[in-house]
């Protein structure tokens, strides 16, 4: 995909994000949106908020700063069939609806504990559609996160070419 086209499209899409909440100031355009055509900008925002709830930013990076929302959308668009992606879109709507009914505000405006409560509720839900939605997004978020350069090289001791195999060494304390 032509990089200039991507950035131009991102700028257009970002128009809808003029009113992001204060806590989203650190978001970079590229990490947030990828115009695959699968999700509307509002749905993309929701997906990003869900991913960031699953793996938040603190003194270590979270989902958004590692570009996970864009990764999620590419995975959904390219690797999953229509019924699955429709279920994701419905799940995002359900997150908002649940926030409204439980806390009287949108999912985005709910606080961290409230957001977590809603998603954990989906994870245990008897409604298989909600459960499948959240399980898929959680698994893909974890996949994108654990295979990122930041996590692989900074935390998981990634080494493409160890050059050796030692069968019995002491565990490092």
């Amino acid at each position: 995909m032509n990089r200039r086209t991507v950035i131009r499209d991102l700028t257009l899409a970002l128009g809808g994000l003029a009113t992001v909440p204060a806590w989203a100031n650190g978001w970079k355009a590229e990490s947030l949106l990828m115009p695959t055509g699968l999700l509307k900008p509002t749905e993309q925002q929701m997906l990003a908020i869900v991913a960031e709830t699953i793996i938040p930013e603190s003194n270590t990076k979270g989902a958004i700063s590692l570009g996970i929302p864009a990764f999620l959308e590419i995975m959904l668009k390219d690797c999953y069939e229509a019924p699955v992606t429709e279920n994701v879109i419905n799940g995002l709507k359900a997150a908002d609806a649940t926030a409204e009914s439980q806390f009287g505000k949108s999912f985005a405006d709910s606080d961290t504990a409230q957001k977590q409560q809603i998603l954990l509720g989906f994870e245990k839900s008897q409604d298989t559609k909600l459960k499948d939605f959240y399980t898929l997004i959680k698994n893909l978020t974890i996949l994108g996160y654990t295979t990122s350069e930041y996590v692989q090289t900074g935390f998981l001791n990634y080494n493409m070419a160890p050059g050796h195999y030692y069968g019995c060494v002491p565990v490092k304390k």
Binding site: I74, C79, G167, C168
Partner: protein, 571 residues
Amino acid sequence: MANLAIDIKKQNTYDAIVIGSGISGGWAAKELCEKGLKTIVLERGRDIKHIQDYPTAMKNPWDFEHRGQVPLSVRSEYPKGRGAFLREETLPFALKEGVQPFVEEKPFTWVRGYHVGGKSLMWARQTQRWSDLDFEGPQRDGFAVDWPIRYKDLAPWYSHVEKFAGISGNKDGLPELPDGEFLTPIELNCVEQHLKQTLTKEYNNKRHVVQGRCAHITNPQPIHYKQGRATCQHRNLCSRGCPYGGYFSSNASTLPWAAKTGNLTLRPFSTVHSIIFDEKLNKASGVRVVDTNTKEMIEYHARIIFVNGSALNSNLVLLNSTSDRFPNGIGNDNGLLGKFISWHNYRGKISAEYEGFLDKTTDGKNPSNGYVPRFRNLYTQETDFLRGYAAGVGAGRGSSSNREGIGEDLKNNILYPKMNNHWHVSSWMMGECVPIEKNHVRLHETLKDPYGIPQLVTSAEWTDNDAKMVKDYLEQFTEMFTKAGFRNIKGADSMSNPGSDIHEMGGVRMGNDPKTSMLNKWNALHLCKNVFVTDGACMTSTGTQNPSLTYMALTARAANYAVSEMKKKNL
């Protein structure tokens, strides 16, 4: 105009034709070219040049757009059943749908590598020699026919190919698993060693765990540097193609070597349709090739032909090589061509855990694994099934993250995985299948592939012998693991398809008697002595060993024989 036809024929005439560029075809090319023969290698697939055509070899996990999952739109280009095995990392070598349709009369998994190098780019690199306990199997146990060779015939050729290919292994001194020309062995880890010691003690030194001998360069010799290959880097990314040439493949090793002689012509996109039999001269004169791009048919001529198209495909070519003399396929007076197809029994799998050595772990990556040589029915018949099984065995000290929960806690579990409080152990059986006549391949009467070649029908199924063998493997290994103190032992019969072991073989078996076999002791068709079959198709019995090393040795031996016969003007 007559001159033009003669010119084309001359242009298409070589000393030798090799059908297929895979693990055995590459060896035919190397040996024949080294001996001065102008050799054309006909490969049905595209070229894959060492290093430059390994697009995923140097990619990190984050470099893959879908982290390994193959997009739906791409998946649809590949056969349905293989969907689960498709990965972005190895997609370049996967076979697309429609390239070679075939008919599964009974379920059969046929894994093919249709590109220069064939399955030598995709193999597990495990290499073990046969012993006479294997060669004598059919005769002793009353199945198939007697092999026309014994270990002493092949031993020097095992040495020959091992030195060139680069084989890492330990000299274990076991008659059932002859030692070879080895580079530094890769170590067994603590738990594999522990299992080894347990077996030695508990089974009176009759069961063994050894380092799985493998085609990896652990300490390069001058011959490997001459090939342009370097030490294995223990990346365990072999199936992407190795830029270091750290493991043996046609692409890294035999084909460039053959090319260096100046005698090699490599023609990709060349699907061999049939061997041309010259009735007057009573020998094969060449092959008919369908160019897979233009679909035109081209003839190539040579004094000798090596058939290395991969076992079932070699059967197909021979079956399709019909003439007045051989209406049922070249050399097939006895009707055995395509029959006694077999493979290896990989159905049994076991996993377990061990809570010892918790102060120890491994470092780096192991491109090999532990190996348990066959111990059943070695010298006497002990069980209710014939033959036996070898097994792979591997242990590892993994780490894991608790993925429950959400938020900062979940993230920290992921960022700081905890070493497991146990080692995991796994084993997989590699059983010898007894070939039966009923298991066969044949040509479909009407269906053809995109090149006008009849589709192959595979008609093969498991036997009672196989089922009994799986049961014994599960029982024995459960007992062995229990004695080693392993817990949580879980074994199962995967009921995988015939062929899913990827060691399909037979159909053009070697034997002493032309009435009951297709090939003589030099891998030449009894009835057409300038056609040699040295890939899996030639196998009279299957043994338990990963077969590629034996194919390489048989090929080198037959090629050298062919050349000496040509020098004597016998071929």
